[in-house]
């Protein structure tokens, strides 16, 4: 019989995996992009593991873990951010607070977007796929497709806008 007070690594991994998407979504709004969010989440996971002994299993894991993610994000901006441009502390605090509730909409948004992207023409879908898979390096992508980077970037952003509008419409219909 395992000691119930002993933190179990399996329990930890199960909880962390279950909360992974939301934690990433939580960090994205503070940091602005996926790559930084992933970096920070990886670091935060280490802290969360260290503190896991203090976790009260009757409480929501995400709420508990997100506070570590929040401080990790602030720390990341302080010492390791690639860009000096980051949101100020007051805004970060507000984003973090509001995003916890907002995450209830996340699943619906993801589902809606999956349908929207399927509605695109094949060539546009191709462009979207290449862009997101290649870490948004438009210059490289443009070189490969033999197109001007700015033209390509404009095209992509038009698609992103169309997709965002489509997502919004779908969500409004469902609501």
């Amino acid at each position: 019989m395992p000691d119930p007070t002993e933190p179990s690594s399996e329990q930890f991994i199960t909880l962390l995996n279950a909360a992974h998407g939301r934690l990433l979504g939580f960090l994205r709004v503070m940091l602005g992009n996926n790559a930084d969010a992933e970096d920070v989440l990886q670091r935060a996971s280490m802290t969360i593991w260290r503190k896991f002994g203090e976790y009260d299993a009757s409480k929501d894991f995400f709420s508990w873990a997100s506070s570590f993610a929040f401080y990790e994000a602030k720390n990341f901006q302080r010492v390791a951010a690639r860009s000096r441009l980051h949101f100020d502390d007051e805004l970060l605090q507000r984003l973090a607070e509001e995003r916890v509730r907002d995450l209830d909409h996340r699943e619906a948004r993801l589902a809606a977007m999956d349908q929207c992207v399927e509605e695109l023409q094949e060539t546009d879908r191709e462009l979207v796929r290449e862009f997101y898979l290649n870490n948004t390096e438009v210059a490289t992508l443009a070189g490969r497709l033999g197109r001007a980077p700015q033209t390509l970037y404009n095209k992509l952003n038009t698609l992103r806008r169309l997709l965002a509008d489509c997502m919004k419409r779908r969500l409004a219909r469902e609501a």
Binding site: E38, Q42, S45, M46, W49, V128
Partner: protein, 540 residues
């Protein structure tokens, strides 16, 4: 504050922020707009979820296309737990990388194509496309080789791409990928054309062409030789260049004359295209190819003797703390510390691993292959300055593994030293600068290990030079790159592992795989920043 904005402007600012193209002015505007408007914040949240959805969709698409795996069932509401372009290299994320690919993700992970995108620090590293090589041959052996460096100076076991090589003296043996073996005596110039063809301008050559390599073509200024499965010699040094067939049959194609066929024991002068004057083949002119075995053995013995001598001198260096020369007994389970001033550093403990031959016969090495193979070390104390050096033979880099440890401190404690090969083939020296949460200062060299370097013995050194405020990387004794120190940190390697890494002795979860695949036959830790000259001596 002007918080009026239209949806177009907001969306443009969102994408610029997400893509890292935002200007400081725009960023200030975005910060203000988000602060002032709950509606804008809500749109920002939706935008980020939209981006996450598009990324997840793109990954599933790529997987469907490349691996032919239908992931429809894993669909919409569950984006991949670990983004395949996660920048999970940094080992402050090492643990988490393990978590991220843990359990639920494993199923997907095994199916993901090698796409994991990793960009240490700010460098953007290309996605993991399939590795390619343009090599057509390999320099298999050599004795006293002196190359004209302007045309390249390959090392033994180095794959050779098409191009010209000029051997000033010595003997080189080139094995073409198609199977032909060509022994070259300097001075000679040879141009590799393909895995079955070369052009010899001058020099003496001796070829062995097995049946699989039938049709091997050797061009000369005086005509072309097509081999039909033989041993032959080609002497282009003499005033009258000659072709000698020791065994088998070759065709000699020369301009304006009929093709001639030479068979065992015959020879022909290339200067007299028309004449059919078979001569007795003279093997004596090509002894360089016959006594190569003996000369190679001799030269290896000499190199080993030189190493033994310089090794003893190096052990007496006053700042040397740890020296593993790997000359321990057959089936030893620990590695003796040979540094004379390293009394406080215990022998390394071998876990797993196989003993094998090192750089020369008589030189012993450990082979690291499985995820369990490692040598446990303890390096107590502080190292304000240090040099780490090793002779390594990397066999491969696992595409699903971000880092391969050369020597890494256990865990992520402040002062921890992490010397590793990252998946791109670059070398990274990281010093943990902050803990809980951990932040590591990474110094990353240009790419060292391309597939062409796998299997070759390479001398690596990294210098942490506090006085010079820089980190330096060396390959085979030559300075590769220098990097300004990011901040003063006091390195404390502590418990460490050669060729592997664990997060902590009591850690129980899954963790990222960091094992090195290859051999190591020499390893040193010196509490001094060695100079360029000192590193060069060490690599000789």
């Amino acid at each position: 504050m002007n918080s009026e904005s239209n949806p177009h402007e907001l969306h443009r600012l969102f994408t610029a922020k997400a893509d890292g193209t935002i200007t400081p002015e725009e960023h200030e505007r975005l910060n203000a707009l988000l602060k002032d408007s709950a509606e804008a914040r809500q749109q920002w949240f939706a935008f980020q979820d939209a981006e996450a959805a598009l990324l997840a969709w793109s990954q599933r698409e790529a997987l469907r296309r490349e691996a032919g795996v239908d992931l429809a069932g894993q669909g919409t509401s569950q984006p991949p737990i670990s983004s395949p372009r996660s920048r999970g290299l940094n080992y402050f994320g090492a643990l988490a990388a393990g978590f991220a690919i843990g359990l639920a993700a494993w199923a997907m992970w095994t199916a993901w194509p090698n796409r994991t995108k990793v960009s240490p620090s700010s460098s953007k590293v290309a996605a993991r496309d399939e590795a390619t090589t343009s090599s057509v041959a390999v320099l298999s052996r050599g004795v006293n080789m002196e190359w004209d460096r302007t045309a390249g100076a390959p090392a033994v076991n180095e794959p050779l791409p098409p191009g010209v090589l000029r051997l000033q003296s010595g003997v080189a043996e080139i094995e073409f990928f198609q199977g032909a073996r060509l022994c070259v005596e300097g001075p000679a110039e040879i141009q590799l054309i393909s895995s079955g063809e070369a052009f010899c301008r001058y020099g003496r050559f001796s070829a062995h062409v097995p049946p699989q390599a039938r049709g091997f073509r050797l061009g000369t200024p005086k005509g072309e030789i097509v081999d039909l499965g033989t041993d032959f010699g080609l002497d282009l040094n003499d005033k009258s260049p000659e072709l000698h067939v020791f065994k088998g049959e070759v065709e000699l194609h020369q301009p304006q004359v009929q093709m001639r066929t030479l068979t065992t024991g015959t020879a022909a002068s290339l200067e007299q295209p028309g004449s059919i004057q078979p001569m007795a083949a003279n093997a004596a002119a090509f002894t360089f190819s016959h006594d190569l075995d003996a000369r190679v053995s001799e030269s290896r013995r000499e190199a080993f003797a030189r190493w033994t001598e310089s090794s003893a001198r190096w052990n007496d260096d006053p700042d040397l703390r740890l020296r593993l020369d790997f000359q321990d007994q057959e089936d030893a389970r620990s590695l003796r510390n040979a540094a004379s001033r390293g009394q406080d550093i215990a022998a390394g403990t071998i876990v797993g691993c196989n003993w094998t031959q090192g750089r020369w016969p008589g030189k012993r090495a450990l082979q690291f292959h499985s995820v369990s193979d490692r040598v446990r070390l303890n390096l107590p104390g502080e190292y304000p300055q240090f040099t780490v050096a090793a002779w390594v033979q990397l066999h491969s880099l696992n595409a699903r593994q971000n880092q391969s440890s050369i020597c890494m401190s256990q865990g992520l404690e402040v002062g921890g030293v992490h010397w590793q090969v990252i998946h791109t083939g670059a070398i990274c020296l990281g010093i943990v600068a902050e803990a809980h949460p951990s932040v590591t200062d990474d110094y990353i060299s240009p790419v060292v290990f391309t597939p062409e370097r796998f299997g070759q013995w390479v001398h690596l050194a990294a210098v942490f030079d506090t006085a010079g405020k820089e980190v330096r990387f060396y390959v085979n004794g030559e300075l590769l790159s220098r990097h300004p120190l990011k901040r003063p940190v006091l390195p404390k390697p502590g418990m460490a592992e050669l060729a592997n890494w664990i997060p902590a002795s009591d850690y129980r979860g899954p963790h990222a795989v960091r094992n090195f695949v290859g051999c190591i036959d020499d390893f040193s830790v010196c509490a001094r920043a060695l100079s360029d000259t000192e590193v060069r001596q060490l690599a000789q």
